[in-house]
């Protein structure tokens, strides 16, 4: 049951995120490190430009990346009834990485093309894993999917290795490396807007179907007996999750651990029911990525790759979470 306390807490999370976004708009390296006075917006046209054309799209992108990865992580973990899967699992992330590197090496480093290739190969990674899993003659469905995902990921990773070897060490390799470490430094409205429809529609689907998601995590037969069409409805949610993940990965590169750790955290704080866990995960994911991106762009003159920060925070959080007493509260 959704206790009022919990819905209030989610509301507070939402307000907190909005506050964080608002404060983040005034954080940066201009005119000096960290804080920009709001008054400057009226006097300095560069400040205004930075505010509108750089910080705003970047913050929106950061929030969407976090929301999407966390929501997709929740969908994947619930449907596969496995707390250790994340949206990149099933060849999605390695596929995107390969696609981006392929484009950088062979077709030139054009932002839009890299984005299209990353998204395209992310989806093809999933399709390949799926096709492989249906043909595999071993084990149950989940096990086959996991094995297929591992195999396809390995395939893409090795192909990526070849591409890195082929890449021009001066111009292409740093580009691939920065992409693999993830970052939002190149975000402008022009790169953000094309992915917005896919991301927002997918997020809305995941948000609206969140209660049903609980039932889709049950055994096939049980889900079927509850009047669901498990295969079809899971496909809808997985498609939404993969499409949104592919879209955000295509602009942000590899942002690690958000999709794995945030759903755990959300369940820990708000219970396993996706009615609360899903919106909570979205807000927490957005908060984490916005916060990490603030650090990435403020602390040093040089950008810190965002993926490194989220992994650092995520992995540390994971360790604390897994060893804290709260985990055993149920027993």
């Amino acid at each position: 049951m959704l206790k009022p306390l919990k819905s209030h807490a989610i509301l507070l999370l939402g307000i907190g995120l909005l506050l964080l976004l608002f404060v983040s708009l005034f954080l940066g390296r201009y005119p000096e490190p960290y804080f920009m006075s709001p008054r400057l917006l009226q006097t300095d046209s560069m400040a205004w430009r930075l505010f509108c054309d750089l910080r705003l799209p970047r913050l929106i992108a950061a929030a969407l990346v976090g929301m999407t990865l966390a929501a997709a992580g929740t969908v994947f973990q619930t449907i596969f009834a496995n707390p250790l899967v994340e949206p990149g699992f099933l060849g999605v992330t390695p596929g995107a990485a390969f696609g981006a590197a392929f484009c950088i090496v062979f077709l030139g480093n054009q932002a839009v093309m890299v984005q299209i290739f990353a998204a395209g190969f992310a989806v093809s990674g999933l399709l390949l894993s799926y096709a492989l899993a249906t043909r595999m003659r071993y084990g149950g469905w989940i096990l086959r999917l996991v094995l297929a995902g591992i195999a396809v990921s390995a395939l893409f990773s090795s192909a990526l290795g070849i591409l890195k070897y082929l890449a021009d060490p001066l111009s292409q390799l740093p580009e691939i490396t920065f992409w693999l470490l993830g970052g939002l430094s190149g975000i402008t409205w022009g790169r953000l807007l094309p992915i917005l429809p896919v991301v927002i529609i997918s997020l809305v689907i995941m948000l609206l179907m969140r209660w049903r998601l609980n039932a889709l995590g049950l055994d096939d037969t049980t889900a079927f007996s509850l009047g669901l069409a498990p295969a079809r409805e899971r496909a809808i949610l997985l498609c939404a999750a993969v499409a949104a993940t592919a879209a955000v990965v295509s602009i942000a590169g590899m942002i690690g651990w958000v999709g794995l750790i945030i759903p755990h955290l959300a369940r820990r704080c708000f219970g396993a029911d996706c009615r609360q866990a899903m919106p909570a995960a979205m807000l927490m994911g957005a908060g984490l990525v916005v916060g990490c991106d603030d650090v990435a762009r403020c602390v040093m003159a040089s950008e810190i790759p965002l993926g490194i920060l989220t992994s650092l925070v995520g992995a540390t959080g994971f360790m604390v979470l897994m060893t804290s007493g709260a985990l055993q509260r149920a027993q």
């Binding site: 009834a81 055994d219 096939d220 509850l226 009047g227 396993a272 149920a330």
Partner: protein, 258 residues
């Protein structure tokens, strides 16, 4: 024969890629309001039988009718409101509470994007109380005993408000007290017009609760009929392949074996 709620006509089923027919030429008619127990040794095809009734598996030959229509022709949502399944066991990867699990029974009554409302929670709460779980509502299902979990799964099935309730080995994990409580719940349901179809491999259970009995062995139906016709020493001996005696103690049938 045709007025049954659930009828099987010459149903045969083989798993894809499997060689052995798991169900062969099954004919069955479950009348409304009865408690039918499917009794047979392990591997007799009892669970397959339930999955066929549910529509999850489709027979290669013959057809299965529910309330006058073939099971496949029912829409998923409608059938979910008619028929509910209590699986043998369920593992939850996450810490769902009892109420969160039971409310899922409302799924067939709600649209794709809908979430349960006050009415749905009232029904779930009533099911929980009916199964004697009121004290557990806020607990995680992962820290319940096997028997308590079985009752949770039953409560979820009841929340579907079905006309036909399918139970897969519902008594297998229960201690005596819980067995007795579950029997009470099932009898009450039957008295309220819910048709019950359950599998069991224990003849005593069938003897204690069923009105009708189906004896299965190696995918075939050996005998169908009212309890007293079917629960006999020769038939049970044949079904289980060992000598079995049926005695009557204080009006209840007891099955002896060695």
């Amino acid at each position: 024969m045709l007025n049954g709620l659930l009828t099987f006509t010459d149903v045969s089923f083989t798993y894809p890629g499997g060689e052995r027919e798991v169900s062969r030429g099954i004919n069955l008619n479950v009348a409304p309001g009865t408690i039918t127990a499917i009794l047979g040794p392990n591997g007799a095809g009892k669970t397959t039988f339930l999955n066929l009734a549910l529509g999850w598996l489709q027979p290669q030959a013959g057809h299965i009718m529910f309330d006058g229509k073939t099971v496949e022709s029912w829409s998923r949502r409608e059938l979910g409101r008619q028929m509910a399944l209590v699986p043998q066991r369920e593992n939850s990867a996450f810490e769902h509470t009892v109420l969160e699990t039971v409310i899922l029974g409302r799924t067939p009554h709600l649209g794709l994007l809908e979430m349960p409302g006050n009415k749905d929670f009232a029904i779930a709460q009533a099911s929980i109380e009916q199964c004697g779980l009121a004290a557990f509502a806020a607990r995680s299902v992962n820290c319940l005993s096997g028997g308590e979990l079985q009752l949770v799964l039953l409560a979820r099935a009841l929340t579907q408000e079905p006309r036909l309730l399918l139970l897969d080995e519902p008594f297998s994990h229960l201690d005596l007290a819980n067995k007795s409580r579950l029997m009470q719940v099932i009898r009450t349901l039957a008295a309220n017009g819910v048709t019950i179809l359950m599998t069991t491999h224990e003849p005593e259970i069938a003897a204690a609760i069923a009105t009708h009995l189906v004896l299965m062995r190696e995918g075939r139906v050996q005998k169908i009929g009212e309890l007293h016709e079917v629960l006999t020493a020769p038939l049970l001996s044949e079904t289980y392949g060992i000598p079995v005696e049926v005695c009557e103690v204080r009006g209840r049938k007891v099955v002896l074996w060695c």
